[in-house]
Symmetry: C2
Subunit: 244 residues, 2 copies
């Protein structure tokens, strides 16, 4: 570390003068919603996310993450929910803050975007048919507006690295599911095969799922149904959770 000479004390927050017109930073929110889509005849489900086509400059015609401007009278969480609903009609029960993106050149005007994310079950992820809203497979995305390619890359990395069994089960599966169904979801997200025996052992040791007394029957051997353990906290917000 290097030392610098202090040049000011705690006056930086005081008396915010009205910023000059070319010195305005605006705050936006965007959301990354992940869900799964199964195509008949295709073995593995696809990880999909909704995008909105821009109808004005900048980046007119390009696809972008759902979002919009923060209103000065609403919280960041409320703005994320409102703009997502306005642009796509989607309303997940819980949006989690992901990261704030603030590179100087990410938009023609200066915009800091607070990005939220959520997982949605297939049965929750319907969108009323609209010309400028669509779900895209994350492995076949167009070039997005602004720095939204980078934001999606980051969100996918977080999904692959940081999302535990409980959250996946709660966010992407119905209330009860077999271990094979959970494993298939993981295989879709990680885009690789997982060893069934190892997967079962890890899940059982994780304490995040609870076996039920029910079984899925059908053409295969009956398979036990599990549900996620609601005692396990899904989000990593710690003391912030109580303020929601």
């Amino acid at each position: 570390m290097t030392r610098t000479t202090p040049t000011a004390t705690a006056t930086a927050y005081a008396s915010p003068a009205s910023p000059a017109a070319d010195d305005v930073t605006r705050v936006a929110v965007s959301t990354v919603i992940f869900s799964l889509r199964r195509t008949p005849g295709v073995d593995r489900a696809s990880v999909v996310l909704p995008l909105v086509r821009r109808t004005r400059d900048p980046f007119e015609g390009r696809w972008a993450l759902p979002g919009g401007w923060l209103d000065a009278r609403e919280s960041l969480d409320a703005a994320a929910s409102r703009t997502l609903a306005e642009t796509t009609g989607l309303a997940p029960s819980y949006l989690e803050q992901l990261y704030a993106f603030g590179a100087v050149d990410r938009s023609p005007t200066r915009v800091v975007s607070i990005v939220y994310w959520a997982l949605l079950r297939e049965d929750e992820s319907g969108i009323e048919p609209q010309e400028n809203v669509a779900w895209f497979d994350t492995t076949a995305l167009p070039t997005l507006a602004f720095d939204h390619d980078e934001i999606v890359d980051y969100a996918l990395w977080r999904l692959r690295n940081k999302v535990g069994y409980s959250r996946i089960a709660h966010g992407l599966l119905p209330d009860e599911f077999t271990l094979a169904e959970l494993r298939e979801v993981y295989e879709s997200i990680l885009d690789r095969r997982l060893d069934p025996a190892n997967f079962r052992r890890q899940v059982e040791n994780s304490g995040t799922l609870i076996p039920t007394d029910a079984f899925r029957t059908g053409s295969h051997r009956p398979a036990r149904l599990y549900r996620y353990n609601s005692d396990v906290e899904l989000a990593d917000r710690g003391p912030l959770t109580s303020r929601r």
Copy 2:
């Protein structure tokens, strides 16, 4: 989840009109810097952080986290480093984004604060004597300005829950250290005793520390020195790391 009727497509980002004077949201950055302080004769080190006393309204006279306004021509990371240096003279080599705080009532005017955090070694955490800057023990903090009490609570929670052996060793200890020294740091952060044998086993299994051929000698049995494994990525930024 509930469904809402879409009321707009992707026009929310377009044509930002100049906001009315009472509708301005400003962006600030704040930083939480954790370090350790050892008091002669006291067994356990204290977790400390630097605060800056406010010299103007709002909250004149209260202590606050170092920080200041984002300049429209600098990135969030750069603003965090600059305002920390200006208010305290501290310049950690790496600041990590922690969370964006944006409750409507957190300040008399509307302010969204992007909060950064870092760990500093004791030998890096000197501050030139200044009237309005001081280090505080995190177990004996005054009531802070704005929502900074909540921000510190959240940062401490993240420190206790999410910081692995490698990051602690890299951020708070010299280049080489004994396992007892590392354990003492953990005991300070967690504010409880840890079993030495269990701690040693966990560290050795973690792969985040590398044993050296050197030993600490003195009044006790010689103790092997370790260094942190620089192959282990310290921050959880994934694809964002390459952009720094």
